[in-house]
Symmetry: C2
Subunit: 206 residues, 2 copies
C-alpha cells in the first residue's frame, strides 16, 4: 500500500466504490470496469480510474477490474478487514434502529454496546443488547477497547457524551445530533443530519 | 438572486452554513464573520467568503454578516422558506424515528404521511400519524401534492417503492436503503448510509 497523502475527497468516495462492488459480488459479477462502476455511481469513469490509481495498479487495460480483488484491496485501504466494535449512545428510536440494523455485517462493524441515561430504558433489552447506564460508559467502553461510537442522543447532551467517549478511548464518532461537536483534532467526527441532504435537494426543486 | 450555475459541491455546503447560523441565532448572536463560521464548520474563511460571494454581496468589509439576513437569504437560495411536506415510506424503527423527529421544524420540512406494506403496521399510530397502506401510496401522495420522500424500506423493496413515488409526483428522495436507485435524471436522490461515513473515518484510524 502506498503511504502518500490521499485527498480526503477521494477517501470519501472509496466507501461508495466498495458498496457498489459488494452489490456486484452479490449479483455474481466477477469483473467490472470504470465505465460500469461510474454508471452505477454517477461518477465519471475517468474520475474512478484516477481515484483508484492513487493506490496502485488495480486493473489491466481492456480487461477491467476483478471484483473480488478490488473489494479486498478497498477493505484493506479503508481499514475494515475486521469488524470494529461500535458503542451506540442513545437508545431511542434511532438507537433501536441501529441496534437492529443488519447492514453492518461484512462491512467492517458490529454494534457491541448500547447506553442511555434514561432510567426507563436502562436494563431494557434491544435485540441482543441490554441498555446500559451512561454513568458506566467511560469504564465499560475503555475496558472493551471500543474506538468507534454512534451518537443518537439529543443535541443538548451530545457534547458532554462525546467528551466522555473521547475519555474512554473512542477516536471516531458518527453523530446524529444536530450540533457541531467541539473535540480534539485527532478525533474523527462525521455527522448524519437528514435535513442537510433534504435542503441540498430542494435547491434544485421548482 | 443570481441564476448562474452554482457548482453542486458549493450547494452541498450551504445547508451546513444555514445549520450553524441557526445555532448562532439560538445563541442570540446578531452578527458573525467568515472566520467564526469557518472555525465552527472546519472550513477555511476564504472558502466561505468565496461560496457566499456566488450569491451576491452578503457582508460588509470589517463588519461581517448579519446572522438574520444570512439565514433568510440562505433559506431563499435553498428553497426552504416554507415547509415541504414529506412522505415517509417504511414504518420500522427508522420510520418511527423520522415520524417523531423534532428537528424538521423551522428547517423547511414537515412529515405529512407515513406508509408501510406490513399488515401488522398499517393502521397503527406513530405520534401524530396513522400508518397507511403502500397500496394507496400513489393516489394519496399525488392527491396531497407531496414532492419530497424519505425511504426507510428494506433494500429489496426500495427500487419498486421509489418508482411508485416518482409516479406519484415525488421529485426528491432521501433513501436510507443501502442500494443505488435507478431513476429518471430529473429526480433528485440522496442516500444516507452510516457505514459509508464510518468507513470514511476508519481510513484514518490506527
Amino acid at each position: 500500500m502506498e503511504t502518500k497523502k490521499i485527498p480526503d475527497i477521494v477517501v470519501a468516495r472509496l466507501p461508495r466504490y466498495l458498496q457498489v462492488l459488494q452489490h456486484m459480488k452479490q449479483e455474481k459479477l466477477v469483473t467490472t470496469n470504470s465505465k460500469v462502476l461510474g454508471d452505477r455511481l454517477g461518477i465519471s469513469a475517468a474520475q474512478i480510474r484516477k481515484d483508484l490509481s492513487q493506490f496502485g495498479e488495480f486493473g489491466k487495460q481492456g480487461t477491467g477490474y476483478s471484483v473480488d480483488f478490488l473489494i479486498n484491496t478497498l477493505r484493506v485501504i479503508l481499514n475494515v478487514t475486521d469488524a470494529w466494535k461500535i458503542v451506540v449512545v442513545g437508545a431511542g428510536d434511532l438507537g433501536h434502529a441501529l441496534a437492529h440494523y443488519q447492514g453492518f455485517t461484512n462491512r467492517g462493524f458490529q454494534v457491541s454496546m448500547v447506553f442511555d441515561n434514561d432510567p426507563r430504558l436502562i436494563g431494557k433489552q434491544i435485540g441482543a443488547f441490554t441498555v446500559q447506564d451512561t454513568a458506566d460508559l467511560i469504564d465499560k467502553v475503555r475496558a472493551a477497547e471500543i474506538h468507534v461510537a454512534m451518537l443518537t442522543v439529543p443535541a443538548s447532551a451530545a457534547q458532554k457524551v462525546a467528551e466522555e467517549l473521547v475519555k474512554a478511548g473512542v477516536t471516531a464518532i458518527l453523530s446524529y445530533a444536530p450540533i457541531v461537536l467541539n473535540l480534539p483534532h485527532n478525533i474523527q467526527v462525521q455527522y448524519i443530519d437528514p435535513i442537510l441532504q433534504l435542503q441540498h435537494m430542494t435547491y434544485y426543486l421548482e
